[in-house]
């Protein structure tokens, strides 16, 4: 069983992620992208009178099936074939995060922050809800996410996707090094 439960090294997982691009293009003529699913959900459920949602979301239902598949695949890979060991991050990262007050390294995420109860705390609300809001707002303003820009857009040698990917990283570095220490101290 161990061969099915253990995590994959970067040189297996990375190329497989890259192969998703030609697989989608050749089999279905669709471009890889996930964040647009948020837009289609808005267009289907809460369009209001906004021009941005005035299109036929039914032309994009494939996105919902794809996202449903991701959830199902994650359940297979992460629950049925769960890796029993903690994520093997570097000792340096562990000690830096411990200094910021994180102690539970057993799961994919620090369970002391990412649990339903913590939604009621200021720290949990910022990490989960404000974080999610910024992801939804920022990806739509940028016109794509790590999938749509960093993998798909760059594969088509699009300069806008390279700019977006650089901005993703700069934003992440600013948050990690300058803001997160204060948020984790709340």
């Amino acid at each position: 069983m161990e061969i099915f439960t253990r995590p994959w090294p970067w040189y297996i997982g990375g190329p497989l992620i890259g192969l998703m691009v030609p697989a989608l293009l050749i089999l279905t003529n669709k471009s890889l992208g996930i964040s647009s699913s948020f837009r289609h959900i808005c267009a289907a459920c809460i369009p209001g009178k906004l021009d941005f949602f005035r299109y036929n979301w039914r032309d994009h239902v494939w996105s919902f099936y794809f996202v449903g598949g991701i959830i199902l695949g994650a359940f297979i890979g992460g629950v049925l074939l769960a890796n029993p060991n903690p994520v093997a991050i570097s000792a340096q990262t562990v000690s830096e995060l411990q200094a910021l007050g994180i102690h539970d390294f057993s799961g994919l995420v620090p369970s002391e922050i990412f649990n339903l109860g913590s939604l009621l705390s200021l720290k949990g609300f910022i990490m989960i809800c404000v974080g999610g809001f910024l992801v939804g707002f920022g990806t739509r303003y940028a016109g794509g996410c790590t999938s749509g820009h960093t993998i798909m857009g760059i594969s088509n040698l699009q300069v806008p996707s390279m700019v977006a990917s650089a901005a993703f990283f700069i934003g992440g570095i600013i948050m990690t090094h300058f803001l997160l220490p204060y948020i984790l101290a709340l």
Partner: protein, 136 residues
Amino acid sequence: MKNIIYIVLGLIFGIILTKTEVISWFRIQEMFRFQSFHMYGVLFSAIVVAVASVQLIKLRQIRSLTGEPIDIARKFLNWGQLLGGLIFGLGWALTGACPGPLYALAGNGVLVMGAAILFAILGTRFYAMIRHKLPH
């Protein structure tokens, strides 16, 4: 039932994202702290394979199995990629997950990510409300 292909492809993507641990908040922290090659290896090898595939598809003018020529929408440079990109980056380091991994974490049983997804939808809704006031 042509939509089964999307479920199958999504399922494969979900397994890869999970097994490569790119959905882990810890891995994202490690990446933004430059303390491991793992995430960089994943991203760079994914990009290399994707670039090679797309360029080959274009060079050989390979058609989609749907019968149509393969069509990739062009993106146009505007302020959104920079400003929106920075905003997304801030959120990415908080949740430790970009959109694909948000869904994958929910599938992994981290049910609280359902709240993050809900707020991502609200963030998208808010963008649609104020986009005419933003630089593009």
